[in-house]
Symmetry: D2
Subunit: 393 residues, 4 copies
């Protein structure tokens, strides 16, 4: 029960948050808002929630944003907020992929910290430009590869870094869903429509939408960079323009080999992100749908089930949790952890103090660019019939 | 993905929330605050967080409560808030069991709605007095039997009410933990200390602390009242004054039989609340530690795993969830559901409109009194060597 | 892979086996035969497979029993086999409950070892008489409480005996099935018919049929005798003469408390025998439907999953298994283990050598009498409205 | 309980069985013998259990084989048994891979039916020669790809053939073990030694030993042939001559894509063979370590758990099982099913009657040759840096 103190983070500055995108009917915007609220480190005070003025206005009112801070243009919002003494400290960008770069740059250049949904941008060039601009600005940039906020993912990463499984040999990662098993986009379903449209989603479908999460998690936990891949992307639903299923062989620096499977056409799979890493002396296994535990097998010993906040949980896991073991946490808490950690980083910057080191695991520009390189390599490899393709950078 | 609209409840009045108890170092107070924040229907504006003035002041500052609304006396708080035009709409009472009644009555009598932690009171007499006073006041009263906020618990209740398993025959409920396997109270651990102290916890230990949750869930889901029980309470850790383990036989109206096991000395059990109900034509099984699914076996058909927001999920489950299936929700979301539903009830009262009927499943005074009757019956039965004892009311 | 040597027991005498009961259409007789064959320590050479002469003859022919050793009377079989120089070494009695005693005594008195299906007899008096007669004869007597043949059950017993969980505090045992959820006996189904008929099954239904297994397992694993019980037996299917569901409170010598649930009307439960034992410093959990592993939680350490033949498996488990870990063994192997161990005991007796000590865990007369005492106590307690009733002996 | 009649197959001819290989200390020979005994359709009467005369003699005595039928040369055994009026009907060949072909041909040419361990031969050429010779002889040839004997594997195959998941799109198969995580062969461990020695195991290590099982299962269940693969074989343990880990991309006729992972260096994996097949309208999932159930998800409906002999089990599953649902069967029963089905085929041939059609699912020469083509393609692809390689035939 020593975990109790984690329920709420150390009292501290509550940041003024703005949001771009996420008006009525949006999905991920609402997730971001819950995540921001959960630990009480943010107050939503401004928004360009839609480019449609009326929708922007109504959406803002729903969220108790003052009328004078309800914008329909992110440019105007960036300018006006920058001039206010009580302007936003940080902005959350929750627009579709092809509209991340412009607002991120606009706010960063005005000194506003940025939290951006993944993937970083529409394509690699845009991502590099965004990274450049943001890097020059010096603001803090968080990318919501939210699955890295799960306590047991951080525990797994720490255990591997500490040598608990020895040198990594095999990395198996998969992310399966079933919601695109039929041509749902033809029905006008909004989430399906933009994700299957190359104009809005970019060059990849399942690979970009969920494959990037799997890839990010594999590197985050194993601590090894993937050097090259051989990818076989397929479009199983007739008429679909982008991949809805992808298989890849992976080769990691240091010699580990692996496989990645991303699919949105696997009936029965809801959000089945699963990671397994095997090393010389042990193995680890984690599943997003039961995120509160981690299976750990030391070679020659009975496998253990380590639970969030239970025996064997490390400080990195304790840092990322709120309630005692046995009280399950889930997706929203994991997402909120990214927000909580970024709040600490931003508050520390404002207060000119060093941040809590435990808060520094959040993904950012580097991971964002890496994700774009992954997509580019996967598409390129598949176009060459699964030829081995290096992931640069 | 039709579930998306559930991410945030219909925009609405944000209620002004006060809190009694829950200062620095408290556990359940922080849980209540997260639950209140999650769906953005409450703003914490006042508190009597501690009877120690300095601790009350500092705790309030941590929570961004204005200094003039940081009280150290709930009586003063009730009086002063009732006079303010922007006084609290609702108060959350998160003090130890023996200090629920007085503040609940104080606020209720001034027209402030009440959310109270369970169990309702220190003993049955006090509970009945509290219920009387609150009933006379006419305010809305919510009791945080939080496990009834889980979507799949509501699904189970609805399925049974709809006849999906036929007439209930067997109810098996258990709630096991291991954190009191050693005399932790002797170490000064605060949570252990008050729960094992008859002065503060009342006549029962595990039975009151977690047995009441199990009992509440059994009645809530089965839809049948438990008429009598035969209880064998034991104190396994030497020197302990209250039961830390309890076994009971149960008899329900309508003829169902059952068993209840509550234990805080079961090594390996974290928060293992589990319910199974078997009827003439089917069975249901649910476990709190994996709350996102419900096992349903119709006699003679392959058992199904129904997931929160997945195929087969009913509107009552959809009402009580935020994110799509496969994105696990947990303890905090279940707790927040109680707060969300009470917000709807209270806002409807203020706005003089009928509440959303889906919000009306929250436990209240009746369930609170029933829990106290359960404790009294269990203690009495055990004192008579597990004699059958009626649960009145 | 050191486990390999266990595939087949040390080469040895192959015993001549006779069988009473188990003709065409019988269930448990065929199970006994498979169990006897599996490890190649028995050769079926004689049988009184039915009291119907023609059925006895045909059944014997099916099983490659020579015509002159196919009897229709167990009395005749006992006499004739006793006179043959190549007469049976051991007889398996697989008749319904009320026909165990007479053949068991007939063979025992002629020096033939006996393997008898459970429960031992029709009622306690008959059981005591049987035990007396067999004890006087000095033959080896095995009772097929087959679940004690599972490797991980023996592992659990050994771990508890070794102090791995400290002094036992709580024993939870349950055995649930669903096949009698409807009045199947009315359809003429043979297995249902005799089990629900007091003339053939005795004074108890589910309690005798499966409750005895649960009770036996609880005592076998915990190493503690159950001193008294308070039982609530119910008949859920209208018109049924015997209990089809039973709940009991248990009190063990040494202070442990427990509960037993036996049910044949739990939809979705196939053969759900499950045992949990919690002690001062650890807990163990086992489920018959996934018998190849045992969950072990040492207080304050991550719980372990110990697998049959995997890391942490003890010699008592290794003794009772055939194939490496990960190659699941099941019900038939567990049953065969009883036969394998009895073969060793009997062969050692014939060969005038000490038996392998690892083979001595088989249940026998004492466990059989104890099972009958359990049934008597349960029925008596329930008749007195769940009054506490001592289990004598 | 209609399943009861399956406990023992229809009474019938008991076949005279010979064995080549499998002397003292061998692993798979003992498994074959248990499998042959389980259903009582074979009697072991002759053997060339070892090429060492003394070891052959002693091993035979252990198994109750008459001294004059204990050979040390399979050639002599084939000749002498062919001349006896009571000579063996069928021979089981359980020698290492490189010694399958010669005895198989020797017996087949004398009209003795053959049961052969997998993989079929040392290399593809040898396999083709063996297949040719056996085909010319006209005898029945069974290959012990034993996992096809599991009831739920046959159920899965039948469900797919019946259209229950629509056209197959994705096939995920994996087979992971951990017992070669260290250089066990250096310790002289016999099983490790020959499996890692190219002279004895052939061109592949893990791919040949377990990858062939995974490949066989993928084709058997999906009903689709794998047309080409891209393989990345690795040797993770320093100094090892053959692959101990392999990843492959798969392309099936009809358009399905898949991945295969075979590893013997995955700590915590015991014998983790797992298959998942996803089609247009449903998905199936099966794991060898919990073989008694099959997960079936029809798109848009709650997933079902179909159990061996439980509701939803098809006749093909019922055919391949012995005990009621809830009584787990395992590896030995699955292996025995191959033997049982081959007994039926061979007995029918001898008795000049048509065999039970349900017995015809056993793998044979075609599957054996296919396995060798798989190995050849995998090794060849990996040598070309995972180039796509067609699997001929």
């Amino acid at each position: 029960m020593a975990i109790e103190r984690q329920l709420e983070p150390a009292a501290g500055r509550r940041l003024r948050l703005g949001m771009v995108g996420g008006g009525q009917g949006a999905f991920i915007g609402a997730v971001h808002r819950i995540a921001a609220r959960l630990d009480d480190r943010y107050e939503l005070v401004a928004g360009a929630l839609s480019s449609d003025a009326e929708r922007a206005r109504v959406s803002a009112a729903d969220l108790h944003i003052a009328p004078d801070r309800a914008y329909s243009s992110f440019t105007e919002m960036a300018e006006r907020e920058a001039q206010r003494p009580d302007g936003v400290d940080v902005v959350a960008i929750v627009t579709p992929n092809h509209m991340h770069a412009a607002p991120a740059i606009a706010f960063a250049e005005r000194g506003v910290h940025v939290i951006c949904d993944k993937p970083l941008a529409h394509n690699l060039d845009e991502a590099l430009a965004l990274a450049d601009a943001v890097n020059r600005s010096g603001v803090i940039f968080g990318l919501t590869h939210n699955y890295t906020g799960y306590p047991m993912i951080r525990q797994a990463r720490e255990m591997i870094a500490s040598g608990d499984i020895g040198k990594a040999r095999v990395v198996q990662v998969e992310y399966a869903q079933d919601w695109l098993s039929t041509p749902l986009e033809a029905s006008g379903q909004k989430q399906a429509a933009w994700r299957t449209d190359p104009e809005k989603a970019g060059a990849a479908g399942a690979v970009g939408d969920i494959g990037t999460h799997a890839f990010n998690l594999a590197e985050f936990v194993s601590g090894a960079l993937c050097e090259s891949l051989a990818a076989d992307l397929s479009r199983m639903v007739p008429g679909r323009a982008l991949d809805d299923n992808a298989h890849m062989l992976l080769r990691f620096e240091g010699g580990a080999r692996g496989a990645l499977w991303a699919s949105q056409i696997a009936p029965g799979a809801e959000n089945a992100l699963r990671l397994r890493v095997y090393g010389e002396t042990g193995g680890l296994e984690w599943s997003q749908e039961e995120p509160n535990s981690l299976l750990f097998a030391a070679l020659g010993k009975p496998p253990q089930r380590i639970t969030r906040a239970g025996p064997g949980a490390l400080p990195v896991a304790a840092h990322a949790t709120r309630v005692p073991s046995g009280h399950p946490e889930g997706y929203l808490e994991g997402f909120a952890q990214i927000y909580r950690d970024l709040a600490e980083q931003i508050a520390a910057r404002i207060d000119r103090r060093p941040p809590d080191p435990a808060s520094l695991l959040t993904p950012g520009l580097a991971e964002g660019v890496r994700g774009m390189r992954f997509i580019a390599a996967a598409v390129s490899s598949s176009a060459c019939d699964a030829a081995w393709t290096r992931i640069e950078g």
